[in-house]
């Protein structure tokens, strides 16, 4: 008995996606040889891997993810960060400094204070404890300027694009620096406010239409039109 649902169908939890020699991929679950959807989304498959593309969902940390976290609490020797996940994350002093840090002698608030945003990587995470972050790589650390916007975490891959093609083209065309957190937070800073605003509009467009076809062409066209308006105004 084999069955495979057509691709790109909108499915609901409990809907049968496949039966037979298939593998249960993301956002599915398996009983015997049957694979079912576990969320509302779009059915899809690559080879024998059957999965559902999520349209809405929380950010679930993976080791190695680049994230933008907000410091919400401090303990002795560590900070606690909101990374827009079901779990808060810990940032230990030993994952911030290369040298030993004595939190009794040194003032932790001079490094990160409550309300600060940090660019960090997820260092560890398992079922038994909250994720922990590190800022020890270069380029990571406290964010001091720029604008933060939020996007549904499940749509971040679309913003990045194949091999980063989408995001690199947006950065280039709008001359802005864009740093994407896998947790759905995006840091933008550009030299000109008008171009920053354009980058944000493009990101909004991608969020709204993440699962339509022809998006890349529409984005290119959109940027071109907007830029010519801006040039006319100058």
């Amino acid at each position: 008995m084999t069955y495979l649902i057509e691709s790109r169908k909108i499915v609901v939890p409990g809907e049968l996606l496949a039966e037979g020699d298939y593998r249960a991929g993301r956002h599915t679950y398996q009983e015997d040889t049957k694979i079912y959807a576990s969320i509302v989304g779009l059915s899809n498959h690559v080879g024998r891997n059957v999965y559902v593309v999520a349209l809405k969902g929380c950010y679930f940390p993976q080791i190695g993810d680049l994230v933008i976290g907000k410091i919400i609490d401090m303990r002795l020797g560590s900070w606690v960060a909101d990374i827009n996940a079901p779990y808060t994350a810990n940032l230990f002093a030993s994952d911030v400094f290369d040298r030993p840090f004595n939190s009794r002698k040194e003032d932790m608030t001079r490094i990160f204070n409550i309300g600060d945003l940090v660019l960090a990587k997820v260092k560890s995470f398992d079922r038994t404890r909250d994720p922990s972050l590190t800022t020890r790589e270069s380029g990571l650390g406290r964010i001091v300027h720029g604008r933060i916007i939020a996007m549904t975490p499940t749509k971040i891959p679309r913003l990045i694009g194949r091999q980063g093609s989408m995001i690199n083209s947006i950065k280039r065309e709008t001359s802005t620096n864009i740093t994407i957190g896998q947790n759905g937070l995006i840091l933008i800073s550009g030299k000109r406010l008008a171009y920053e605003n354009l980058a944000i509009k493009v990101i909004d467009l991608i969020e709204a239409e993440a699962h339509t076809s022809g998006l890349t062409e529409r984005v290119t066209k959109f940027i071109k039109e907007e830029k010519s308006v801006l040039n006319d105004q100058n």
Binding site: K70, I72, D82, Y87, G115, D116, G146, I148
Partner: protein
């Protein structure tokens, strides 16, 4: 997704403040502009009156139930008005289930004051048997979605709900029992109070803060005015302080905005 709803990122705070210092808001509004207001009256048919009001993303539902009961002993000929507010947990990650806390009690009492002191509901017309039986008007405020400015949204929903409240017709028999008829009449209203909350952020006075802006408020003042601009209730809330000048400015702002709302929003329901 976590408990940090009260902590706004410092970068974001700075940006909001920078805008305000230049008399702007990050959503493009002016300092004294409200977000779009939507009113849906009569949505709860079983209630005597109701209104679902949203200001921006903030949503409040008010239901009115008119029942009968004994009057207060010091006002034997007057009906009773009672206001209750629930900050139900659906509305915000920071609302917890449980009995009313100080925030929901303050909200209820401030709206009560605006309605009561303006004599919005003509309680003298709600007497059935003097000293024994009067109408009791229950105003129940249900916060459904909290994106800032609960006071004004709730007050607006309350007054719209009262404006579409109907009383059941009745006859009183010889033995003092009440029989309802099929006739209905509108709840007698004498005044239409409008509450406007003026907030102070970084030395500027603003209206209708979003929940993010609320985190930056130094202090705020809620002012209720009636049809003739008479002031019927004032509540200064939160920790900070006002100068006398700021209070007078706020009064002026509130009066003008209340007029605007009375004409442009409530006009359709009078």
């Amino acid at each position: 997704m976590s408990e940090s709803h009260d902590v706004i990122a410092n970068i974001r705070q700075r940006r909001i403040l920078d805008h305000i210092r230049q008399d702007q808001r990050i959503d493009g509004r002016g300092l004294l502009d409200y977000r779009p207001i939507q009113v849906n009256p009569g949505i709860i048919g079983k209630a005597s009156g109701s209104a679902w009001v949203s200001i921006g993303k903030t949503k409040v539902l008010v239901g009115i139930k008119v029942e009968t009961g004994t009057p207060y002993s010091d006002k034997p000929d007057a009906g009773v008005l009672t206001v209750n507010a629930e900050l139900v947990p659906i509305a915000s990650p920071s609302f917890e289930p449980g009995p009313p806390n100080e925030d929901s009690v303050e909200l209820a009492r401030v709206i009560d004051r605006g309605l009561r002191e303006s004599q919005a509901v003509d309680l003298t017309k709600l007497c059935i048997i003097p000293g024994k039986l009067v109408f009791i008007v229950f105003v129940d405020i249900y916060i459904l979605d909290h994106d800032g400015n609960l006071f004004d949204t709730a007050a607006l929903a309350a007054i719209v709900a009262l404006m579409n409240t109907t009383l059941r017709g009745y006859t009183v028999s010889e033995d003092g029992t009440i029989q309802y008829t099929d006739a209905t009449s509108p709840l007698p209203l004498r005044n239409i109070p409008v509450e406007v909350t003026v907030v102070k952020i970084g030395e500027k006075l603003l209206l209708d803060p979003t929940i993010e802006e609320e985190a930056l408020i130094d202090t705020q003042i809620t002012i209720a005015t009636g049809d003739d601009h008479e002031v019927c209730a004032i509540q200064k809330s939160r920790v900070g302080t006002f100068t006398l000048d700021e209070v007078l400015q706020a009064m002026e702002i509130a009066k003008n905005k209340a007029d605007d709302i009375r004409t442009n929003v409530l006009g359709a329901y009078r």
